[in-house]
């Protein structure tokens, strides 16, 4: 157990010995706690960081965040479960989110879902045996002008047809690009040509 000063008060921090995030993640969380008028605001970004390292929010990761930010576990749990972008169960290395809301539906989203379901032979929420893929249907992603679309990890793929999506999944399988960070869009030329970043206006 170590003592740490949070908001001017010494508090117990029981960081579990068997869950250590990387030093970089630790430093980012430390920095976050000073960015806001109140350190509690660091909760969402801290959960993101934990999720990035563990790939989903395991019980242990949630407990770790609670102790790190000195928040009640129940509070962190309720926050983690409220937001859909925090995964409470494992997802694939590539997690496909298919937009199902009105504009996408009008432009053929159902066919994309069918395509993904058939090709991956998975139901929504399942992870493929090799850990590569999972998918879910989600609500409007703010890309209605380029409907239908999917988001894979942090990257938007727009103006899709079942064929284009199939082609995209083939390329991802072959090149295994890092789609975790949206910044990769600028480097996508490498093998994913033809899938533009936003081109709405």
């Amino acid at each position: 157990m170590k003592m740490e000063k949070i908001n001017g008060v010494n508090r117990d921090i029981k960081v579990e010995a068997d869950l250590r995030l990387s030093d970089a993640a630790e430093a980012r969380i430390e920095d976050l706690m000073h960015r806001y008028p109140c350190s509690n605001s660091a909760l969402l970004p801290a959960l993101y960081i934990a999720q990035e390292e563990c790939s989903w929010l395991t019980d242990r990761a949630i407990r770790w965040v609670a102790s790190r930010l000195n928040l009640p576990l129940a509070h962190v749990l309720e926050v983690a479960t409220f937001y859909t972008m925090f995964y409470k169960q494992p997802v694939g290395k590539y997690h496909i989110q298919i937009c199902r809301t009105l504009s996408c539906m009008l432009c053929g989203a159902k066919k994309l879902t069918e395509q993904v379901r058939k090709r991956l032979n998975l139901s929504a929420g399942e992870v493929s045996g090799d850990g590569m893929w999972s998918f879910e249907e989600v609500e409007c992603l703010g890309s209605c002008g380029t409907a239908p679309m999917v988001e894979i990890n942090d990257t938007f793929f727009e103006n899709l047809t079942p064929e284009k999506l199939n082609d995209l999944l083939n390329k991802i399988e072959k090149f295994k690009p890092d789609l975790r960070y949206s910044g990769i869009l600028e480097e996508l030329g490498k093998g994913l040509e033809g899938f533009p970043k936003s081109s709405v206006w």
């Binding site: 969402l44 009008l106 703010g142 949206s182």
Partner: protein, 427 residues
């Protein structure tokens, strides 16, 4: 009319997100001007411009700023609402991604007007790329001394942080946003007190939409009267419309308020796809009433004209549906959205939305009865006005407007159900 570019002038330029390119196109000139003005002068200018909030409600921006109490001894916070989760709406994304410095400059001007020294952009979690663009832009601004202590060499300090949401529509509602920023579930607060008096961290807080804030540099640079001259008497300026659905050229369009709706669909959006006929339009995002094609004659895209037509301008998310659209299925799709997104705080919303969805679903899947129409109306009556936040009304609106405007489609499915069941019981 219709093509004055205040927000989109440089949106097509590939380098506009870069600080040097932005400055080469007169960027950061307006904030320099604003820093030499008093708070009162800036607020007066924004009031005189007639600018109304672009997040949905259309409340005059300058007047809202005037509600912030002076000299409370507490800090004032400014939150840029970039949550943008209303189905059909994707205009703020264009600004954040393509012209982040304009959004930041707008925040600087608002911060100066409000004597605010800490501001935040709350951006929906899915917008990873726009968030990254804005974060980089903020870093560039710090590096040049445009953010931090004594910005632009003035005696004004300002910090801006980017805060990502995590996939909850309700965090676009201003008090839901504040709760979320404070590290909680995004469950809206009862009002009053309004955020202008008790907002983030218990301090006076202004929440403004990204587009609202991005308009400020132009107003300060060109003067309130130039802005007020654009648009109509009560709906000043230009507005971004994000158009989607069954049209040839979906996208983000900037138009002068008061532009005829039908002309917008024909000329800007390239008309209805595949030579089909227009059936219905949702003009302002999924939470505003739908209009039938035969109701569109003479309707203009501005706050007053759309209210007169029985709908609203909302967030400017225009969704077009052609004559192949099954309207029962369309509204069921929207109700699925609302069922998924209710924050769960009030019983009428949490339980009611599920019932509305199930009832519409029953009708859509040819299992409904005429009693279901009465049930739908009853449910809606009991949700509307009985909830903590306007989400309750936002879900009732599509349910009732689709039902009222396309009643014959609901009835046809019920009749089909009835005859199917009669048939099967005899068979």
């Amino acid at each position: 009319m219709g093509h004055i570019k205040i927000l989109t002038e440089h949106l097509d330029r590939e380098d506009q997100h870069d600080i040097d390119a932005y400055e080469s196109r007169a960027g950061y000139a307006a904030v320099r001007k604003a820093l030499a003005m008093s708070s009162e002068e800036i607020i007066a200018e924004v009031k005189a411009s007639g600018l109304r909030g672009r997040g949905g409600a259309g409340f005059p921006t300058g007047i809202k700023w005037g509600f912030v109490p002076k000299n409370t001894g507490k800090p004032v916070y400014l939150l840029n609402n970039a949550d943008e989760s209303e189905p059909g709406t994707f205009k703020d994304r264009a600004l954040l991604e393509r012209n982040p410095h304009m959004c930041i400059e707008g925040m600087m001007i608002a911060a100066k007007a409000l004597s605010c020294h800490w501001a935040c952009i709350y951006i929906r979690g899915e917008y990873a790329y726009p968030a990254e663009r804005v974060s980089k832009a903020i870093k560039q601004a710090y590096a040049k001394g445009y953010l931090g202590k004594k910005i632009f060499g003035s005696d004004f300090d300002l910090d801006i942080v980017v805060h990502r949401g995590a996939g909850a529509y309700i965090c676009g509602e201003e008090t839901g946003l504040i709760e979320s920023l404070e590290g909680k579930k995004g469950q809206p607060r009862l009002k009053p007190p309004f955020p202008a008096v008790v907002g983030a961290y218990g301090c006076p807080t202004v929440v403004n939409n990204t587009e609202t804030l991005a308009t400020l540099p132009w107003i300060i640079a060109n003067g309130a009267s130039s802005y007020a001259k654009i648009g109509t008497d009560k709906s000043a300026g230009t507005k971004l419309f994000s158009a989607s659905g069954h049209i040839n050229k979906p996208g983000v369009y900037e138009i002068e308020l008061g532009y005829p709706l039908l002309e917008f669909i024909e000329k800007e959006c390239g008309g209805v796809r595949n030579g089909r006929k227009l059936k219905a339009v949702i003009p302002g995002g999924s939470s505003v009433p739908v209009l039938r094609a035969d109701e569109l004659d003479g309707v203009m895209l501005d706050y007053e004209s759309l209210v007169k037509a029985g709908t609203m301008l909302g967030s400017g998310g225009l969704i077009v549906m052609d004559d192949s659209t099954d309207m029962v299925e369309a509204v069921m799709n929207l109700l699925h959205f609302y069922t998924h997104e209710s924050c769960g705080q009030c019983t009428p919303c949490r339980e009611g939305v599920r019932w509305v969805y199930k009832t519409i679903g029953r009708i859509n899947h040819c299992n409904g009865t005429f009693g279901d129409i009465r049930l739908l109306k009853d449910l809606c009556k009991n949700i509307s006005g009985h909830t903590i936040c306007p989400f309750g009304d936002a879900l009732v609106t599509p349910a009732l407007s689709f039902l009222n405007k396309f009643r014959s489609e609901f009835e046809a499915k019920i009749e089909a159900a009835t005859s199917m069941h009669v048939g099967s019981s005899h068979g």
